[in-house]
């Protein structure tokens, strides 16, 4: 699979404490790839820091939320005719040295989505208990829906081909987690998990509040079922 042009999209919201280190990591370990930061209405000067670092940035005028920003990233990579996109969190949890492994997986295994998985080989990454419970629930849900278990459905490090991106821009998503995975599988796209190591976030606060920890599993489960319905109806109409 020819993936000549790949872009790294870094969604950020109030990551002034982390963004410089993240950008330096990307320059050092993935400097051969194009990259763009999507600043989701930050109020702590993140946008200024990104510009001071002479990085490409898309400023969103009001905070849209993580999922909508990823959707914007997909629209951007399709408009600029990239062959693949890598989403890379701006909170310092990921290592840029692992990006090439995801892209290689897209090429060699001919999959449409390569997920950087924190749990397929190790359970060392913990995170908040509520988040871990939700992650386990969604991981469990993948087996009956997809016929196989996806261990990390909430990873922020993932690589997608342009074909997968075209499918995803048409759907409705919360955070592009299990609902996106299920949608791609229902429409016949292959998915792989690539073991990665992730750090706890370096500085700042998670975007997931306690209220979000309660709402998120319900909304994501509903969106996942919508993706299943979309896929089944699509197969019926073919």
């Amino acid at each position: 699979m020819g993936l000549e042009r790949v872009i790294v999209v870094v969604p950020v919201f109030n990551e002034a404490a982390n963004i410089c280190a993240v950008l330096e990591d990307l320059r050092q370990n993935a400097g051969h790839l194009d990259r763009v930061v999507i600043n989701d209405g930050s109020t702590d000067g993140t946008g200024r820091l990104v510009r001071a670092a002479k990085e490409r940035v898309i400023d969103v005028p009001v905070n849209l939320g993580y999922g909508k920003v990823l959707h914007l990233g997909l629209r951007y990579m399709l408009a600029r005719e990239y062959d693949a996109v890598v989403f890379f969190d701006g909170d310092g949890q990921h290592s840029a040295a692992q990006i090439d492994r995801l892209i290689d997986t897209l090429r060699t295994e001919e999959v449409a989505l390569a997920i950087g998985s924190r749990f397929v080989e190790s359970q060392a990454y913990s995170g908040p208990k509520t988040r871990r419970a939700a992650q386990r629930w969604f991981s469990w849900l993948t087996r009956p829906l997809l016929g196989r278990r996806i261990f990390d459905t909430t990873s922020g490090l993932k690589a997608l081909t342009a074909g997968a991106a075209e499918q995803l821009v048409r759907g409705t998503f919360l955070d592009f987690h299990i609902e996106a995975i299920v949608r791609l599988r229902m429409f016949g796209y292959a998915i792989a998990e690539v073991p990665i190591e992730a750090r706890e976030r370096r500085e700042g606060e998670s975007m997931y509040s306690l209220l979000a920890a309660l709402k998120y599993p319900l909304k994501t489960t509903a969106l996942t079922l919508v993706a299943v319905m979309d896929g089944l109806l699509s197969r019926q109409s073919r």
């Binding site: 109020t43 490409r56 898309i58 993580y66």
Partner: protein, 136 residues
């Protein structure tokens, strides 16, 4: 219903019809919604003022008493209106998100073109505000 009750409801209905008409005139109520509420008011006033009409509705929905029929129809009506409003809100939200995304993409494209060697960069306003906002 007593004659007094019918008169009170009809007067209220007419006042509400005038309110709907004035709202449409001021363009604070879409014509479609204005027609819907007008038709609803006329239907309620007719049902109250013309007993055979109300009895026919009661019989049609299988209720024993007219008040039961009106309650059931009222519930169904309110539910449909709320579903409709929810759908409209969802559509508005989707359009808003698309507009915001288009704005952001256009601003980035303009900035990239502005920084090309052939064109001087336009001065950029810093959009980071001091007041914190919640995550969407």
């Amino acid at each position: 219903m007593t004659t007094q009750g019918i008169i009170v409801i009809d007067i209220l209905g007419i006042l509400l019809l005038l309110l709907v008409a004035e709202s449409m005139r001021r363009r604070i109520l879409l014509i479609g919604y204005g027609l819907l509420w007008s038709a609803t008011l006329v239907a309620v006033m007719t049902a109250v003022s013309v007993p055979p009409f109300l009895n026919a509705i009661t019989h049609a929905v299988g209720a024993l008493f007219p008040v039961s029929a009106l309650t059931l129809l009222g519930f169904v009506f309110i539910f449909l209106v709320l579903i409709h409003v929810s759908v409209q809100l969802t559509l508005l939200n989707a359009r808003q998100v698309e507009l915001i995304q288009n704005l952001a993409l256009k601003a980035e494209a303009d900035e990239r073109e502005g920084s090309s060697p052939d064109r001087p960069a336009a001065p950029r306003q810093d959009r980071d505000f001091a007041d914190p906002r919640g995550h969407g």
